[in-house]
């Protein structure tokens, strides 16, 4: 097991190198640094000296191969440097902003998981009946609505029309619960269609198995069959799809945070996009890839831990 983990981590390194190469090509080589400097210096028509000092500060004035070497070593060591727009250290910003992201993203995720699994089991219990057919159709319907429409309409209906919770904003600690409610509700409902369809497939796969037929033949009540036998086995693929997403919870959802004014990493990325702050966008791309790869490794490990039939070679 340990050798497998080490091998996977080693294999992840060339992938990360590839990712940082891709970001380098995208950002450095295609946009000349003068353009970036012009955008970020507050003076209207910066003098050549101002341009030069800015470029020097942010390390854009060296020849391209040297910038490339510097970029690769820094990024592999996770030294993200300073933001182009504000000049702050990017790690400081990340340190301040990851907690709201993680809080909101985990809430949305786990509340969503609970709701989706419940619906999936409910629909699978009534499989073949009208509840199943209309339920599946309803979830395809939910899947077809654009995420933006969920966000806009959700914020409008819940915040302005029904006035349940404040429209946007954030507060640390337990008193800030009312700011988190709307993103949570909107986030859960928007993911419902896709999630229920996915989990319903897992449950249905288990229900068709022989051991379920045996349990029913032995006279086990249907409720017990579902919850004690089917759910436990369906939890294996569910678990793997859950675990793969866990690290990305740290990053937060870009749109959700931006819409509801949550001061998290996702909102920071959206601001960086709007202000063309390449340094932050580069850093978030790399961080995102790293977390995704960790998620994949965790998925494989959890699969091996949970399912005794799986052996990692």
């Amino acid at each position: 097991m340990l050798s497998y983990i080490i091998r996977r981590l080693l294999y992840a390194i060339p992938i990360l190198v590839g990712v940082s190469l891709a970001t380098f090509v995208l950002f450095y080589a295609v946009t000349p640094p003068e353009q970036i400097a012009r955008k970020n210096i507050s003076a209207k028509n910066p003098t050549p000296e101002q341009l030069k000092t800015w470029l020097k500060e942010h390390g854009y004035d060296r020849p391209l191969p040297e910038q490339f070497k510097k970029h690769m070593t820094e990024v592999m060591l996770f030294k993200f440097g300073k933001s182009d727009a504000t000049g702050e250290q990017i790690w400081t910003i990340i340190g301040e902003r990851w907690k709201p992201s993680f809080m909101v993203a985990s809430l949305v995720f786990f509340a969503g998981l609970l709701t989706e699994v419940s619906f999936a089991v409910f629909v699978a219990y009534f499989r073949g009946t009208y509840i199943d057919i209309w339920g599946t159709f309803l979830f395809v319907l939910l899947m077809s609505i654009s995420y933006m429409v969920y966000l806009i309409a959700g914020q409008f209906l819940l915040g302005k029309v029904l006035k349940y919770w404040p429209l946007a904003g954030f507060q640390e600690g337990l008193t800030g619960w009312k700011f988190v409610m709307m993103p949570m509700v909107v986030g859960v409902i928007s993911g419902l269609g896709y999630g229920v369809r996915l989990y319903r497939t897992f449950v249905l796969e288990e229900i068709g198995q022989d051991y379920v037929r045996t349990a029913r033949a032995k006279g086990v009540p249907e409720q017990q069959v579902l919850f004690r036998h089917v759910l436990k086995n369906a939890a294996i693929p569910m678990l793997t799809s859950v675990v793969s997403v866990l690290p990305t919870l740290l990053m937060g959802s870009l749109l959700l945070e931006s819409f509801f004014g949550i001061p998290g990493l996702g909102g920071m990325t959206v601001d960086a996009i709007n202000s063309q702050d390449f340094a932050i966008v580069r850093a978030m791309v790399f961080l995102g890839s790293f977390l995704y790869i960790i998620g994949l490794i965790l998925t494989d490990i959890s699969y091996a831990l949970v399912d005794p039939r799986v052996r990692l070679e």
Partner: protein, 334 residues
């Protein structure tokens, strides 16, 4: 491009589609799938809906200038253009709204008007073309790329396979929204750039799929027979394995079209979508955010654009699912 030439392109696309479907209809696999589809009422309705959207898009693609100095007007423009009002007005209203002093309207607007006075129904119809163009062009870019890489990786194996897997692992591990954003920031806004960016982020799925299918087919008897007869690799790939991949490809493309059309709305919010001059549902939905905050609430813009988007995406989803079940129910993975 002179209007005559640019009018031939949509007609050529239509002709190619009709020809392709007619030829496929003669093969037993597709004929059987068609028979099964005919019995599914939902699928037929979805197909009709997609056809209607396609027809509207086609109407908008064909047009001409009335004279040298007149602006380009498409068939849709000539049929549906309504006079421009001063500002917002509610559906079927007689006066404008959200103004300090209300003014009477010049004409009836079925779905109201937006901030600059354009008829909302007209804007929505114009958005059909953008959405279908986006989905179609992106698929046209991404599908051959994905197929080529996937088949090469599956067929030749070893080094080629490793290389292709490395490339798509790198691409897949970058969060897609961020990759889209990065590409758009670098390339700038525009329909073609958007299609390229969406193509780059969406080809990985089809590549994995075609690689898997090619692996399955590589060791089948008919491929071995072709090798024994002395056929070259290229010929085997294109004339023997590729037609067997077609069902999977078509299903994947149909279901992917719905995701592409949905993605456009999200990109418009990030100011990275289609430029504001080109009518699109994403731009309408994005503009609706501020409109909902006004007093009185301006809801018809959002409702119209999101309903049009919803119906198209639903039609693609339902038809894609039905197509997959009609071709081979074993392909169901979700």
């Amino acid at each position: 491009m002179p209007p005559l030439l640019s009018n031939l392109i949509p007609l050529a696309i239509l002709a190619a589609l009709v020809f392709g479907v007619a030829r496929a209809g003669r093969q037993p696999l597709w004929a059987e799938a068609y028979r099964r589809l005919r019995r599914n009422r939902m699928a037929l309705i979805s197909l009709v809906v997609i056809g209607v959207y396609g027809g509207i898009a086609m109407l908008d693609s064909i047009g001409w200038n009335d004279s040298r100095s007149a602006p380009y007007k498409s068939v849709l423009d000539r049929l549906c253009e309504r006079p421009k009002e001063r500002t917002y007005s509610a559906p079927l209203a007689k006066m404008t709204t959200a103004e300090p002093t209300l003014h009477p309207l010049k004409a009836r607007h079925l779905l109201g008007t937006d901030g600059v006075g354009d008829d909302v129904l007209y804007l929505t119809l114009k958005g059909c073309r953008t959405a279908l163009l986006l989905g179609g062009l992106t698929s046209l870019i991404a599908t051959p790329l994905a197929l080529a890489f996937g088949m090469l990786a599956g067929y030749f194996g070893r080094r080629v396979d490793d290389a292709v897997q490395y490339v798509y692992s790198v691409l897949a591990s970058i969060p897609s929204i961020l990759l889209l954003v990065a590409l758009m920031m670098v390339m700038g806004r525009g329909l073609i750039q958007l299609c390229i960016a969406l193509g780059v982020t969406s080809w990985v799925g089809l590549c994995r799929l075609s690689r898997g299918e090619t692996l399955k087919h590589r060791d089948r008897e008919y491929v071995r027979a072709a090798r024994a007869l002395g056929l070259g690799h290229g010929r085997i790939l294109v004339r023997h394995i590729l037609p067997n991949l077609m069902p999977v490809v078509i299903i994947s493309v149909t279901l992917g079209l719905s995701n592409l059309v949905l993605a456009e709305a999200i990109l418009s919010y990030l100011q990275l979508g289609v430029p504001p001059g080109v009518g699109s549902w994403g731009n309408m939905i994005d503009g609706a955010r501020l409109e909902l905050a006004r007093e009185p609430v301006i809801w018809w813009n959002l409702l119209s654009a999101s309903t049009a988007l919803f119906i198209l995406v639903l039609a693609f989803n339902l038809f894609g699912d039905a197509l997959r079940d009609a071709i081979d129910p074993r392909l169901r993975t979700s």
